[in-house]
């Protein structure tokens, strides 16, 4: 690894673990961690043991989870507003409702683990170290964007997050490859390749399963099953909707993806499984998106408003965590409101910063097609004499 990459990873690791929250005394007892019992239906397994329903987690971690989810939701809502104001154009796939998957995953992993997903990637980018300003600026197509404004909504990357991929299913074999490299280089880490219920029927996903199992790669394949592949319900696209069993020879685990602690527990279990040499594992996160597939989809033509409302009222990840925080006296209502407010302020500020950033320079149009100074001297322009040199 280049030293610059190491520094970046260190920065990401630092950001993940040093909370900007100053040390505070909590309203409850002096104990630093709590034991929370997950609901019995949180997991279902296929050819493997169930993870423990008993979660021991620090109070700071819980508050961090809450803050992350709230900020992520605010960020997505801000993106929604910017899209409707026509400041964001093109495609924009929001993860409102699916926050628990990104947050629960990040808290169970280290910066050395890698994540790759498809186009619903804003939340993951944020959790993997992307600043809100850089994410919003990327959506707006500005210089301050995390990909320099050249990628847009579907193409956001951080040193340990491989995007952000537009072609459905294409990221899964890539994830297997990343896992292979990790094993080859002797890293004690895993790669989490995410895809949706729609993508699960792509041939290349099964090719990746086979390679991962054949070579016992530290690859965890995560199906984010939000029940609809764009407008098609899962049962109308898949002959077998038990996505966690689709790995056949790869064991699997179904997880309640609306509960951030269940996700956290399952991801920790999966990491331990793969890193200890047991080979790949499949996770199916049962989750739900409140919005449509993308900003051009109202999301109501293929499902009822009652269903969306039901999920929002009864299964919302943020509300669920909130109830836990209050039940275990981790923080008070007022402290929660303060966090909500701080998130709003942070996102609003990021919106302003992103809007203030300028568009990328036209010279960026010609850069990064090939490696600089690698023997591809020029790109051809309009005329025989017009060249753009690297």
């Amino acid at each position: 690894m280049l030293s610059s990459q190491k520094i970046n990873l260190a920065k990401v690791a630092a950001k993940a673990f040093i909370t900007p929250l100053t040390v505070r005394t909590f309203a409850s007892s002096a104990a630093r961690s709590v034991n929370i019992n997950l609901h019995k239906g949180s997991f279902e397994s296929y050819n493997c043991d169930l993870p423990s329903l008993d979660v021991e987690i620090s109070k700071e971690e819980l508050v961090r989870m809450y803050r992350s989810m709230v900020t992520m939701r605010r960020m997505e809502m801000a993106s929604d507003g910017l899209y409707k104001a026509k400041l964001i154009r093109g495609f924009c796939h929001l993860c409102t409702g699916q926050e628990a998957v990104a947050v629960g995953m990040e808290t169970a992993l280290t910066a050395e683990d890698k994540i790759i997903t498809a186009y619903r990637c804003h939340g993951f980018t944020y959790m993997r170290g992307g600043s809100i300003t850089s994410i919003l600026a990327e959506l707006l197509g500005r210089k301050a964007g995390i990909s320099g404004g050249k990628g847009g909504s579907m193409h956001m990357f951080t040193p340990n997050f491989f995007g952000g991929n537009g072609i459905v299913g294409a990221q899964v074999p890539l994830g297997a490859g990343i896992a292979f490299a990790q094993k080859y280089l002797g890293h004690k880490a895993a790669t989490f390749s995410l895809y949706g219920d729609g993508a699960s029927n792509q041939g290349q996903v099964f090719e990746a399963y086979n390679m991962a199992k054949l070579w016992e790669l530290p690859a965890v394949f995560v199906c984010e099953n939000n029940r609809y592949g764009m407008g098609t319900a899962a049962n109308r696209s898949s002959a077998n909707t038990s996505y966690f069993k689709r790995g056949d020879y790869i064991p699997g685990l179904k997880v309640n993806g609306m509960d951030v602690l269940a996700v956290h527990q399952a991801v920790a279990y999966a990491k331990e499984w793969t890193v200890s040499g047991k080979g790949p594992l499949l996770l199916e996160m049962e989750t739900y998106r409140y919005g449509g597939h993308s900003m051009s989809d109202p999301g109501t033509t293929y499902r009822t408003r009652e269903e969306i409302q039901h999920m929002r009222s009864n299964n919302d990840p943020i509300t669920g965590l909130k109830q836990r925080l209050l039940e275990f006296n981790i923080i008070t209502e007022d402290e929660m409101k303060a966090i909500d407010k701080a998130a709003r302020v942070e996102v609003d500020q990021a919106v302003e910063e992103a809007k203030a950033s300028g568009e990328p320079d036209l010279s960026e149009f010609w850069t990064q097609i090939y490696q600089k100074d690698s023997g591809v001297p020029y790109v051809r322009g309009r005329e025989p004499e017009e060249f753009h040199r690297y």
């Binding site: 847009g152 579907m154 072609i167 149009f365």
Partner: protein, 408 residues
Amino acid sequence: MSTTLLRSTRLGSSLSSISRTFLHQGAPVKHLHTSLKTHYAASNSPPPAEGFLPGVANSQLIKHTHHDALRNPELAGVANGETKKMNTFQAINDAMRIALATDDTACVFGEDVGFGGVFRCTMGLAEMFGRDRVFNTPLSEQGIAGFGIGMAAMGSTAIAEIQFADYIFPAFDQIVNEAAKYRYRSGGEFNVGSLCIRTPCGAVGHGGHYHSQHPEAYFAHTPGLKVVVPRSPIQAKGLLLASIRDRNPTIFMEPKILYRAAVEMVPVGDYELPLGKAEILTQGKDLTIVGWGAQLYVLENAIQLAQKKMPGLSVELIDLRSILPWDVETVCNSVNKTGRLLIAHEAPKTQGFAAEIASTVMERCFLRLEAPIQRLTSYDTPFPLVFEKFHVPDMIRCAEGIERAMKF
């Protein structure tokens, strides 16, 4: 005005002589924009600065009236029939409806086609013909192509939809290695002639890397396939019916920006337009311009822009229509007449289809060429997000290309 102009040009007099006539009458611009008034929605606006209104809606290539549409000799078969106002997706829908009605073995399938498709091309077909003939496939392009090839090998008519041309690459192996070569490698025992793959293609203003590509060049390199790109609703309906019924596997690329932008009076009857034949849209003697799909409207505006700088410029605009096989005769005859050629397309320059046309024309018309062949294409970069306007060959770049060809 447009049809009178076209008729006169067809009868031999050039655009330049006609514009000279108007000059004598003292009001070419006024004449131009009075006719445009019938097409332009807000007729209280001031006359356009350039002297013409750009864009598809104001194009003179679009057949806005019943008589305009039926004047086309290629539509002789439906010349006594009715026409109906349709945009491109409605025309394509109509073509598929006719195909399904006249061919019992025909099926339409692809991602989300059941409810009408993401561009509404398949609206109402499932209701009319049943979900066993118009059905959704899972998210699997390679599967869709392979499945279509299998169906066609059994003699059924398979009309497959790939949701965006950018997604066609997982299916590339199936199309190039299976579909194109079936007849050849089986010595004629099997063929997949009844396969037609339809896919929306082309830049749309905000599509970015994966919703804007125009991949005809990749498929043009494959003998055994036919590749077709329509420019308007009337053309789309006729060419699609011809593609479906053609006895060779065909890829039908629909410029997605034209789905709503292009509205014409389309004959309601069953008609086909010939594959492998280009169409000369305007006759001229100074310069030949070849394009296809949505780029033709850009070229039309580029010609108008160039004619302001070079009054009397007479351009022969050709719509290639079929990329494979392409109408070598029509293009070469035209270049032999004019001596200058300009080709424009949205795909990147290196190995874009213009390279093929330029090579062939160079071979056939070398001594008649008065200027190097101009290729106006996108730059050799991945299709960008924010830089789209710079990437594609817009009317100004094309007008400059015209100037370069004329002033060599």
